[in-house]
Amino acid sequence: MKDKKQKIKAKQCPKKLEMRYSVFSAVCALFLIFNLSFLISAKAFAAFEMHPASARLPGRGGWSIADDSLSSLDNSALSFDQFNWEAGRVNFYGISELNGGFLSLQIPSENNSINFIYSTLKFSSVYRESIYSFALARPMTKNLNAGLRLNAYQIDITDFEDGIEPRTLYSDYDFALLFKDKYFNFGVSLQSLSSKSVRLKRVEESADAAISYGVMFKPVKGAVFGLDYEPGRPINGGLEVEVADALKCAIGLRQNIFTLGFSLRLPRCRLNFSALLHNDLGETYFISVSGI
């Protein structure tokens, strides 16, 4: 009888340990986040705010800090189980001269995940912003990932007056944590760390560091909703639901703009579409094709 009890206790032990481990990870993550939030509270640099990394993100409100499935410029701690790619295009507010494009590669390895993103925003032939981004995500515990991303920025400007720098290059790095659980995720991303002042002509501008928090809920299988919060900015939030076997629909609010989107699974690829519906400016459309 005593042996039997000991056996049962031994079986329960790993579960208990696992739970303690999860709680410990969550506490560590929260501790880090609250400490870092005192260090950083500045606004993000004005440029590079609408660089997409996935057409699925804008449709559900643009939140991504706590997401554990999509590639993103917002959280470098995403880890991937399988190789994926996504390529897409965006037109802003119906202005034919204002377009963007992106390419994302998600490469898993034995212990790490590597994410490469190229994203560009082009205005006619006079102005172009580009980001080249490499991220490395590593599981710290079963539930906690940490990620580091290096970003290289390039701004090309036509020579319209004396003193303009035709090409400006600079770089910075991001650090992120992602806590994953069965029903919810929590993430924090510290962006534009170590960035220096940038001068395109005469005035130097600082690309200030920023901290963003995100939470993602998974109440039922096939449905997720989440929120991103950055101090001083409106919340991004939304919902994505798998309404049929091959179709995901999304809806959300991004910076007070209503968003919607869908993602259709086709043989060997997925077609993603999303739209931002601005009251005054009209619509911005994102479209992409991805591997999964």
Binding site: L98, I157, L200, V203, D280
Partner: protein, 346 residues
């Protein structure tokens, strides 16, 4: 098996319910545009200079703008009111306007020769035209609006009316609530019909709008029909005049607000095909409004507005792409807009 089915369908139904409720909440939270979009709201003062050309439903200006002649009839509306305008001047005469608020419907009277109010011997023979309401004014007074309850009875109802013969476009303006005209609601496909005529002490006389075709006043064989709900959605249509456009926008693609004397401000020149109120706003590429200016064009032409590259608090904006939103509204309330991008490089 049942458990499996429940798991599959239960989960899917739950997801759908979850999604639907979220959509509902978002739609509820979204700022709503005014029902039916922009309309023209008339200030009832007897001066018809604010009416758009497209709202003139009868043009009788062949008479010339002379005393004791009707020069035009105007009709427009917003979500709440129907507005009617009569461009005319009289001296020693009166004017009557007859309104059929459900043209083609059964209500209304076609023989007003026994009516107890403003009886000017009017008989109506135009197809479907049976007035339910009438307006009467004598010698330039503000006049009154009446409901024709039967062929012998009309009763006064409250409706703002004003006459002004001293204005640039003299005449009378009347506003009547839709729920007064159509107490049981606004039926899909609503059409109204109007007819106006001058009168002397005894009968309709001298001039009418539209002009009679085959008979002489006080007999009436014509009217003008206005379709107020051409899309059959049970709401008054948005008003539109087809030639209202932003013809062109001229502005540089880059400017550098850095106080060095070179390209420090952005001159935005907008050409518009009609008189209009113009709003020019600048947004960050994320859609946040950072600057706004307004202007007015009293006639078709160009308007130039300058933006110094500063935000609402007067601070210079950061480098990057900004969207300039140019929005114009004409007198009919019709709105057109265009977006242009500009890069700030400091």
């Amino acid at each position: 098996m049942d458990g499996k089915l429940y798991a599959v369908f239960g989960n899917r139904i739950m997801r759908l319910c979850f999604f639907s409720s979220f959509v509902f909440c978002l739609l509820f939270l979204m700022p709503q545009d005014a029902a039916g979009g922009p309309y023209h709201r008339i200030s009832v003062d007897g001066n018809l200079d604010e009416w758009a050309a497209g709202e003139k439903i009868v043009n009788d200006s062949g008479d010339g703008e002379v005393m004791n002649k009707i020069d035009g009839l105007y009709v427009t509306w917003d979500a709440d009111n129907l507005y009617m305008g009569i461009n005319y001047k009289v001296d020693g005469y009166g004017i009557l306007l007859y309104l059929d608020s459900d043209y083609g419907g059964l209500s209304g009277q076609s023989d007003l020769t026994q009516i107890d109010t403003w009886n000017k011997g009017a008989k109506f023979s135009a197809d479907g035209f049976k007035p339910d309401f009438m307006y009467g004014s004598w010698d330039g007074d503000d006049g009154n609006f009446y409901e024709i309850r039967s062929s012998v009875t009309a009763s006064w109802i409250s409706a703002p009316c004003a006459t002004d013969f001293s204005s640039d476009v003299p005449g009378t303006e009347i506003a009547v609530r839709w729920d007064t005209l159509l107490p049981s609601g606004f039926p899909p496909g609503t059409r109204i019909a109007v007819f106006a005529a001058l009168c002397d002490g005894l009968s309709l006389a001298i001039d009418a709008a539209p002009n009679n075709i085959l008979v002489s006043l006080p007999d009436v064989d014509t009217c003008t029909i206005v379709d107020c709900d051409s899309d059959n959605d049970g709401r008054p249509d948005r008003l539109s005049s087809s030639d209202f456009t932003i013809s062109s926008i001229r502005m540089p693609k880059l400017f550098s607000p850095n106080s060095d004397g070179l390209n420090d401000s952005l001159a935005i020149t907008v050409a518009i095909s009609q008189s209009a109120d113009v709003q020019i706003k600048a947004y960050s590429i994320e859609g946040k409004k950072v600057w706004q200016a307004t202007g007015r064009l009293s006639e078709a032409g160009e308007l130039t507005v300058t933006w110094a590259g500063r935000d609402f608090s007067g601070d210079f904006l950061k480098n990057g792409i900004y969207i300039v939103n140019i929005r114009a509204a004409n007198a009919s309330g019709e709105e057109v807009y265009e977006n242009k991008a500009v890069a700030i490089i400091k």
